[in-house]
């Protein structure tokens, strides 16, 4: 079998070529941004394709990290992402697992109620009013609690649980394990791939979340990374461009690319680590028989 797996057939060579192309095409925007951010901002003027940094310079990053503010912002974002993702996964599992049980009465009604929230959303203002009413304004929890469960992710997980053999859960029940124990001891371990994927999705969501922080947070000491980073660049309007001198010898484009680098690179360290759990799930699946 191993031999079979590693043999390079023509069709497999084609697949490698195709995916190499996909990799190049998908990596390029990111590569462009990083190379731009590492270039001297004057040398980077004029655009074009970036295959390597032009006159390497860390000035953009130095500017971003010059003040202590960026670390406050990182801290807030790490808090929201860490606590948020953990709670997201717990709550999503708590909803998805019962809803995947075919013997649970009323599960279809509950699923429908949850799905309805995807189609019908109150909108920015009513949500703001609720957040205000429950006293979460200018509080980091306002960035976590209103988005505890993403219905889409919940349904992905539920359908994942469908493919978990019923026999597994039944045998646990026969052993006298309660639902919660069954979930933690049996179901979660065989579902690491989907949990890892959802952790990724929730994590990225929190890491990139922006508009809620803009609306709910007033104190600059509680502000998150994305808001800080975007405040370092010209988001819109050439009008203000005229009011910006560039004494540091930097251009907006360089700072902009550096902010993207500062926002994305940490995620790239976490992602390969999460990928391991795809393989883990696979092993658990094959061992269990």
């Amino acid at each position: 079998m191993t031999k079979y797996l590693t043999r390079m057939t023509p069709s497999r060579i084609l697949i490698y070529a195709l995916l190499s192309f996909v990799a190049i095409v998908t990596i390029y925007p990111f590569w462009h941004v990083i190379m731009h951010s590492l270039s001297d901002s004057q040398a980077a003027l004029g655009g074009g394709v970036f295959l390597y940094p032009r006159q390497p310079s860390l000035l953009g990053y130095r500017l971003l990290f010059a003040s202590g503010r960026v670390f406050v912002a990182y801290g807030n974002t790490i808090f929201v992402t860490g606590v948020g993702t953990l709670l997201n996964l717990m709550m999503t599992t708590l909803a998805a697992w019962p809803l995947s049980m075919r013997r649970l009465r009323g599960r279809r009604a509950v699923a429908l109620l949850i799905y309805a929230t995807m189609l019908f959303q109150g909108g920015i203002i009513p949500t703001y009013l609720v957040v205000n009413r429950v006293g979460l304004l200018d509080n980091r929890w306002a960035l976590i609690l209103p988005v505890l469960i993403n219905p889409f992710n919940m349904f992905v997980m539920r359908n994942f649980f469908y493919s978990v053999p019923d026999s597994l859960e039944e045998s646990a029940r026969i052993d006298g394990a309660g639902p919660l124990r069954t979930l933690i001891a049996i179901i979660v371990p065989v579902s690491t791939p989907v949990i890892a994927a959802l952790a990724m999705f929730y994590g990225i969501y929190h890491w990139n979340a922006y508009i809620h922080a803009v609306l709910y947070i007033s104190d600059a000491g509680k502000q998150v990374l994305q808001v800080y980073l975007r405040s370092m660049i010209m988001v819109s309007g050439v009008g203000q461009l005229a009011e910006f001198d560039a004494t540091a010898g930097l251009t907006e484009e360089s700072v902009k690319t550096a902010t993207i680098g500062a926002a994305v690179i940490p995620v790239l360290f976490i992602y390969p680590w999460l990928q391991r759990y795809y393989v883990k799930g696979l092993l658990v699946g094959s061992v269990k028989g």
Partner: protein
């Protein structure tokens, strides 16, 4: 096992920064019990919490001033709307007249004439007559006006003209000759074909500057309403509009203006200027010859000259400056007297200097105070660092209408260009209040105007037919209502 490890690592990842944050949070509680005045500021750069300028304001005025900066534009607008709906308004915030009227009508603003009379001498002096226009009436003051300052001016590369042995263009013909030479006759002596004549881009807001001077040469106030046969209507309806378009079509076809003017993003366009690849631009002078000096790559730095391009009838110039922006005080403000004292401080000379330059001796020092020349003290000579510590970012809402501080500190060439701009303004039929149809249709009418210009410049169909089609579309898409309503508002505002 694996899940446990995953959980544990996540927990550690969470707890460490959480603890750090908590300790950071407790430090804030040390603030003394000064009266608190809050403010929402729409701005691009966000300064640090409790920065030096905020502290300095508290020290000098005895008011615990808490400005929250939200990115100007959409973010600011969304935040303000939510705050209005939830009745969690900040004490000071900035509105245009359309929004201001609605806030006044629903009783959410505080009338300030009494406060100004008692505590706001600087405010009254700085605003001058503007204190009784716009949102305000003779008797009632609902907002402190914040003026518009910079009119677009055409700047051409003087050093390139010298290289080519040409003089500064003053007519449309001379201008197109110069642009032609800038594009094709190697004005920068590089031996390469690496230059373009005129930088332009179709867009709204500040982007509309690029076409102002050329349209003005035909007497058309670009993107402003005009008065035609007693009716306020789109600038598209001006009798010379198509002539201006024909001129632009010629520049486009000859390749002497930006060929990608419809698609080029803002920064790549400006980069051409900063790189020394562009010979002429119509934009805010405080950019071209003041704040961008540090951005120009060439050595020696490019030399610009401002010019007025005159059309066939001898007219030319730029747009008139109008502002419908006011800084207002919420009816819910807890300390209105302290708020007014704060506003008054900001409108005085000392306050203006603090807001614009930062703290003397820490952020900047005067070189020649009488001439307003100054230098920033490292590390605050870096604009981003200065803004992070509270310099400049809070200035806009407190900009004075009379004796504007920021004009005083400009270099000679730029200040001359700005002041000349006021005298060069051509007539328009600007109205301060939005029409009902604009309130219903938002920017859709304006977008038809933009679409029309871009299409008319590039179209290969019959120009007049395409033009008539756009005019009809504009009229049918709400333009007719606009004309009626705008005329009514115009007559009201001008007391006709």
């Amino acid at each position: 096992m694996s899940i446990k490890r995953l959980g544990m690592s996540l927990l550690v990842a969470v707890c460490v920064p959480a603890t750090l944050l908590w300790s950071a949070g407790t430090r804030e509680a040390a603030a003394e019990a000064l009266p608190v005045v809050t403010q929402l500021v729409g701005q691009q750069t966000h300064p640090a919490a409790n920065n030096s300028v905020m502290q300095e304001v508290a020290r000098r005025t005895g008011v615990d001033w808490r400005p929250t900066v939200v990115t100007e534009g959409e973010d600011h607008s969304a935040r303000l709307s939510a705050m209005i709906a939830a009745r969690t308004l900040p004490d000071f915030f900035t509105v245009n007249i359309g929004l201001g009227d609605q806030l006044v009508a629903s009783g959410l603003l505080k009338e300030m004439s009494g406060l100004i009379a008692e505590y706001g001498s600087n405010v009254a002096e700085a605003a001058g007559d503007a204190l009784h226009t716009g949102l305000n009436t003779r008797e009632e003051v609902w907002g402190i006006p914040s003026p518009a300052v910079y009119a677009a001016r055409i700047a051409v590369r003087k050093d390139w003209l010298d290289n080519l042995g040409m003089s500064v263009p003053q007519t449309l013909e001379e201008f197109s000759d110069v642009l032609h030479a800038f594009t094709f006759k190697d004005p920068n002596r590089s031996g390469r074909d690496d230059t373009i004549g005129l930088g332009v881009r179709v867009g709204a807001g500040a982007d509309s500057n690029f076409f102002v001077g050329i349209f003005a040469a035909f007497g058309v106030p670009y993107m402003r309403p005009i008065l035609k046969d007693g009716v306020v209507t789109s600038h598209m309806m001006h009798e010379n509009y198509l002539d201006a378009v024909r001129y632009l079509r010629r520049l486009y076809r000859e390749g002497v203006m930006e060929p990608d003017f419809a698609t080029i993003p803002q920064l790549p366009l400006f980069e051409k200027l900063w790189n020394g690849a562009m010979g002429a631009i119509d934009f805010f002078p405080n950019g071209t010859t003041q704040n961008w000096i540090g951005r120009y790559r060439e050595d020696p730095k490019p030399v610009f000259e401002y010019t007025v391009i005159k059309g066939p009838d001898g007219v030319g110039g730029t747009l008139r400056m109008h502002s419908n922006v006011h800084t207002v005080l919420a009816a819910s403000a807890k300390h209105p007297v302290e708020a007014m004292k704060l506003a008054d401080y900001f409108h005085g000379f000392e306050g203006q200097v603090l807001l614009f330059f930062g703290i003397e001796g820490k952020h900047f020092r005067w070189v020649d105070r009488a001439n307003y020349t100054h230098e920033h003290i490292p590390p605050y000579n870096d604009a981003a660092t200065l803004r992070g510590d509270g310099g400049w970012v809070y200035y806009n809402p407190w900009r004075r209408a009379a004796d504007n501080f920021e004009i005083l500190i400009l270099n000679d060439q730029t200040r001359r260009a700005v002041n000349q701009g006021y005298d060069l303004a051509i007539d328009d039929a600007y109205i301060y209040r939005p029409t009902k149809i604009e309130q219903e249709l938002g920017t859709t009418l304006r977008d038809i105007e933009m679409e029309a210009l871009a299409t008319l410049i590039v179209t290969e169909d019959d120009l007049e037919r395409v033009y008539r089609r756009f005019v009809e579309r504009w009229l049918a898409s709400g333009g007719r209502d606009y004309q009626v309503q705008a005329t009514e508002i115009y007559e009201q505002e001008r007391g006709l």
